[in-house]
Amino acid sequence: MARVKVEQQQPATGVTLIVLVGLAIAFLLFMAFLNVVKSGNLLNETNLLFAALIFYAGAGALYLGFGITGTESYVKFASLATGLGLIANTAAIAHRWYEAGHAPFSSVYEMLLSFVWTLAVLTLVAEKKYGVKVIGTVTMPVAIVGVVLMQLLRTDVHPLVPALQSTWLHVHVTLAMLAYAACALSFALAAMFLIQDNVKTETFLAATSASTLAIYASVVLTRFEKWGGLSLVAWNPEQKSEVFLSRGVRLFVTIPDLGWLMTLTLLVVASPLVFYGLARWKKNDSFLTLANRAVFLSILLQVMTLVMFLVRASDGRYPSLDADGLFPTSLAASPFILSGLVGGVFISLLYLLLLWRRPDLGRLLPSADNLDRITYKTICLAFPLLTLMIASGAYWANQTWGSYWSWDPKETWAAITWLVYALYLHMRITRGWRGRRAAYFAIGGFAVVMFTFFGVTYLLPGLHAYA
């Protein structure tokens, strides 16, 4: 069966790019240092984060450079840059913790800070302990986006409402983050297993298209307004919070034409899947070439949509269907849509990496057998963490609201996630499931995690309004 043609690049020595990136990092750091010396305050949080950003950007550039040219020496320097970025990130967290008096878990900004730190740690762990050297191509771009997002969102230390002032909160949220990170890692490893197990590139094409389609469908189906606008939650800049009409009911503004743009992108993003379907149905592989072209187009369109969203949502005042007058909105009011859009671009770019560099990835990734085992081990780590997360959440709920289990959607879905991973373990240990079946199950498990984390808060309301 004809495969999609992959361009063979001449293997470069790679020294040029490494030197360039190194110089760029040094230059940026020097400029920052000059700036900082002028203002006087060297080690404040913003500067530390900026340093982390520079290092992560350097790492990301090198990983992407590997992605484009296949030069393996980039990977080594990329992990060095990641390590340096992690040091700066840790310092930023320590500073924030000290300034705020509580662990950085109580606002979107702080969650991003902790999340980016965890990503960097996981990248280094995966490289050193598991030998998965290319995981940085996935995690570093995400970290960069995270740091950029942090700059766009509020940075002020927000005091905690009474219910959140508990040690058990910190325990619960830390465990949640570690558990979800472990699940994310198992997902990445399972996907890598499928790559090494020679799953066809077209299947990844279909999966990528389906995932981005799911993202855009959930945005369009919930926020498209009759005349082509997009509904976003209004934001109160003075109080740094969403605007509420009454208890639990948010005020939505309509940004004109953005709804049309989202719908257009949805159609383009769905087209590779359509072409894939046609290729399977008509047994004609020329549709696959069309599908890959459609992926390029969808990336362009997704980036454009993201930029338009960033521009329109961060500035300007918009009308609302529920109240008179114009109201501002903010990126902080729509963290899920923003994550979804960024995530969509990201997933599509990862597919391109696979499309262009599959042979190189095949060499750099561990063997399929190893990946299968490592995936299982990661889930063996994730499952106890999930258990402890649910237990600490129940204990905290008991202390605060007098009930350790109230079947609120977030709790229920956390339990569902736990059950799904328990099923994975049963299937593996007692039924001997291995290989592809286990990998698909692990991927499915992560889909449930994604729904628990994003879907429940975005689509189903409840007590868990804090996160």
Binding site: Q165, K377, F383, T387, A391, W401, G402, Y404
Partner: protein, 483 residues
Amino acid sequence: MVIDLRALAHKTWRTIASIQTGVVLLILVVILSAVGTIVLQRPTTEPDEMQSAYSPHVLRILDAVGLTDVFHSWWFLGLVLLVSLCITAASIDRFPNSWRYFSRPYKYPDEGFRRASHPQKSLAIADEESGLVAAQRALHSLGFKPERVVREDHFGIFAERHRISELAVYIVHASLLLIFFGTIVDGIWGWRGYLSLNEGQSSNIVELHDGSTRTLPFAIRCDAAGQENYKDGTPKKWWSKLAVVEDGRDVQKKEIVVNDPLLYNGVRFYQSSYGPNGKVDKLLLVATPSKSSGDKQEVGLALNDSVPLDADTTVRFAEFFPDYAVRDGQVYRKSNQLENPAAHLVVTSKRAGKDFDVWLPAMDGVADNSLAPYQFQATDLKMGHFTGLQVSHEPGQWGVWSGVVLMGIGLAFVFYVVHMRFWVVPVRDPKTGKNSLWIGGTANRNRDAFEQRFNDLVALVEEDLKTIPRTSRSEPVATGISN
């Protein structure tokens, strides 16, 4: 038709105890729980919200099937019970085997076992004893306690660690059953409700969530309550000083805040909310005589209080409106929120023989303040507050928490405590008469890490064998008699 009851019972048992059944039941639990998060649930949704979300016809169907209260429906509870039954049956079914495995260690591997064993390695040795001694030393250095196994016609070495790991899975499942048991106990004997107290008020009646009330054998009195805010006005802390009153005595006192409840006799009182109750605590006034030149008096009045201003006049705090509106010469209460407060004072003068109405603020068209013998100015208005307490009694939670701890231990054992066994058996080849040392091992988890450890052991034994002095190795064993 003859129904073979014994066979039927056997088949039923096999079905209940099978993992397949467990998986199917778990999938059902997952699906039904998911449905319970998508369909609006009655316990957490206002009735009018339910009515507006679904058409009456759909709502009737949902109610009838139980989808509007999935987690308290009989079929969901039944499903959870079935899952528990399945776990119990599966554990009972498999436990005897595991127990046999656990209690009777397999200390000497016979030839068939040795053939099939993985990993394994055979090393050439000069004589049995030196081989065994080398193996013993190697096992010791790896942290194992090797023992000599002596049977009638063969002997060897056996070393193992963490045999308890074979039973770890039962600990996990038992803990799960313990948690279920705790939640069932709470479901039957537990209750949760709400109690709201004004400052100084005491009560022993709790409003339960289903609308009924429950009378406690003791009362709770709120001595004081308050709220602290951050600089930007958002609430920082709600606190209440509570006292438990039983048989007329204060038996316990505690200041509670959110996250730190009061516990008495298995009942917990949680700080849930705090706010103004729309009632005035005290009104502070300055009273000046209208006509004569007298001194200003400072007066503090609670609602319906009367205070004498002089020998002749008393003033009573007759009415209070937190949010007043005037219409047609009448003062009405617009809302309970403290927006536009108004106070109605009645000044009684014995000499004049009548009452004068004084309104603060002055209300033209309702009463003329200037007629009264005293003029009043309000200096402070202290409002009353209520403290909202969640009350709960959950006798089963000890089952739940101990189950959680046990599960933590169980999972730690399941994932991280590995049952490792090593056997070392000297073997003489009947044909060549050469001695070799057979080394084998197993682990019930993390087999790849174990293989590494096995290779380490073999390397250590080899190292040890190399250092045996030449003299004892030079004696050839030439008996030719097989073992």
